[in-house]
Amino acid sequence: MKLFVSEGNPHCVKALAALELSGLKCDVQLVNHEERVVPFLNRPVIPVLLLPSGQHLFSANAICQLLLEMAGKSTDESKQLLEWEATELQPALLQALHKQALQGKSSEAAAVLKGPLGWLDQYLSKRTTSFLTEEILADIVLGAALYPVLSDPAFEVGDLPSLQAWFNHVRELPACQSAAQKVLNGKGLEALKGFLQKQPVPHLQRRDSPPS
């Protein structure tokens, strides 16, 4: 197996943290944002896990799922939160990062994140443990995705005590710490600029649903 990662890309924090938690041996290659590792995808997507079968896994969440499953950890309970992360959180997150890091519009960035972060805070407030599930998968995926936002005081996320407490637990996990250090170099939002400039401009408006 071979894992391709690039600097300043929060999805790579997910993959590297999962790799470390899994304890598996895997080549890690650092590539730049423009590198097209997956031949069938039109635009460069990183991280990518090249499987022994020759298949490319290009979804960071699927990569994390596989690495943890291979290490014998259960992942079923995390799936619902992973779907929420991919469909609800990511579009808002990408838009907020664009606004904050590239345009310096912090109040607009905060407005975009209000809904999803509020939801997550609510969800966590009902939990009796420090983590999202009994498994580690959802914590790694959501923690890494939100790392640039929650570790940077420039983001005005408001008063979300359960979310902050949870994030402090996740960022202290050694696997998460070292992954974030490798990918973001302790440079915070600055580190993300190169990655964000290569992402398609996020749009939250969707095409009308097809007639059903």
């Binding site: 039109n42 979804s59 699927a62 499953e69 799936k79 619902q80 779907e83 609800e88 990511q90 095409r207």
Partner: protein
């Protein structure tokens, strides 16, 4: 749309008792209320739980590797395909066409939930393709035709005519 698709999936899986779904939020995310536990939210999560109810977990993949590939294409369906603009439709068709070049199904050699949900999600796009475009995305059309004829899959959707012989000589698109 997601609700019709879930009810077709129930039939496809041979589940006898239909579930009642509701939706939440602007995106009308499907929700399945459970009597004996918390609600199940999201198309992929609900579909996977139906597969487990029907005891057909092979549709989620037989190995850890295959399960990850299935998960990846399910994610592609609800992120890339479901939110694509008109211009992006061509990109998606191109990507899938390239990917399916040497594959029978999305997860390789076996039919999985990824094929079913991708088929439901892409149906309206394939319906609108002209014959010439269908030939341009030949691997997608071949896969699509295969899935629409797979026993029990089609249900609420009209069949799409796919010509098995080329009308236009290749290279003249």
């Amino acid at each position: 749309m997601a609700l019709r698709e879930l009810s077709s999936l129930e039939k496809c899986l041979g589940l006898k008792k239909p579930n009642k779904y509701s939706t939440q939020g602007e995106r009308k995310v499907p929700v399945l209320q459970n009597n004996n536990g918390p609600a199940v939210v999201g198309l992929v999560t609900i579909a996977s739980s139906l597969v487990r109810d029907a005891k057909k977990t092979e549709l989620l993949g037989n190995t850890a590797e295959q399960r990850a590939v299935v998960q990846q294409w399910l994610e592609y369906r609800v992120t890339r395909l479901d939110s694509c603009t008109k211009d992006e439709v061509k990109v998606i068709l191109k990507e899938l066409n390239h990917y399916l070049e040497d594959k029978v199904y999305l997860a390789g050699n076996s039919f999985t939930l990824a094929d079913v949900l991708m088929y439901y999600g892409i149906h309206y796009i394939i319906m609108e393709l002209a014959v010439q475009e269908k030939e341009k995305y030949l691997n997608v059309t071949r896969w699509f035709d295969h899935i629409q004829h797979y026993p029990g899959v089609r249900h609420h959707l009209p069949p799409v005519v796919v010509l098995r012989n080329r009308v236009y000589p290749s290279g003249q698109h």
